[in-house]
Symmetry: C2
Subunit: 166 residues, 2 copies
């Protein structure tokens, strides 16, 4: 029961038996999984005419609670992208009627991005099937394995300084 990374490790063991390449067993798997899972999510969201990044923005606003609005800066920290990318995303989603820009009364440099009624309805509609789809993708792990996996990933993220959503 091996995966593509087992093959990679076997190749290195043959070519460079002097090196212990164990980190590749983790780094390579995180990288490949991220790509595979992205593809699956992309396919899922296509059924709702949504890009994955659109759902991410909707979900970030939704889970922030009423009035479902955040500054552009908070959104780009949550999405781990640059400010230019967030400006672009807000533009596109605003023209689709999913979010709207509202002025920030406390700070005129800031804008607040708010879910429209349509955006709120859409994220509420998609959320449950999305979680069910994610659960399907993770179904090969039993509950104990899931917990251990989540705990190890948390340790790693925290050690890399990922402790805030902005």
């Amino acid at each position: 029961m091996g995966d593509a990374v087992d093959l990679l490790l076997a190749q290195w063991a043959r070519e460079r038996p002097d090196l212990d390449v164990w980190p590749m067993g983790i780094m390579g798997r995180i990288s490949r999984l991220s790509r595979l899972l992205d593809r699956e999510l992309k396919e899922f969201f296509a059924a709702y005419d949504l890009e994955r990044w659109e759902f991410d923005v909707l979900a970030t606003l939704r889970r922030s609670g009423p009035p479902y609005e955040l500054t552009a800066g908070a959104l780009n920290r949550a999405a781990m992208v640059t400010s230019g990318a967030i400006t672009n995303r807000i533009d596109r989603m605003a023209s689709k009627g999913l979010v709207e820009r509202v002025p920030d009364s406390g700070d005129r440099r800031s804008i607040r991005v708010r879910l429209t009624e349509r955006g709120l309805a859409l994220v509420n509609e998609v959320l449950e099937p999305h979680i069910a789809n994610e659960a399907r993708l993770l179904a090969s792990l039993d509950p104990r394995e899931r917990d251990h996996l989540a705990a190890a990933l948390r340790t790693l993220l925290a050690s890399l300084g990922d402790t805030t959503l902005g």
Copy 2:
């Protein structure tokens, strides 16, 4: 000692206590880790005037063993990108003198991409410090945690069908 995903889960628990969003604890962490680790690797490779994708191509060829050559198709399956992306990468690396295209004697549709001497020397030079850098990024895990983590990720990858490098 929490991470950004713990905050995300807490937000969902407050906003949608009726839903069990556990899959996000794994999917969200894989996605964020992948981005963070990519940034770290990018920074590391910059010291060698290398893009991360360039190193990936060099390493894929290197670990395939002498004569250090693979078809374009094998490279794009290993890298999990489309054929157009690989054509572009080969072009750029060939003009940098790191690889060369050689005809495939058995199949004239195929090309074989071979490490040049310079490419081979470069990957040999970078390999050890790269692994040391990866080990540093994973230093927060003790050896037992590493093994469990790698095993869980392997289970997931295999269940998603990632069982070959092409």
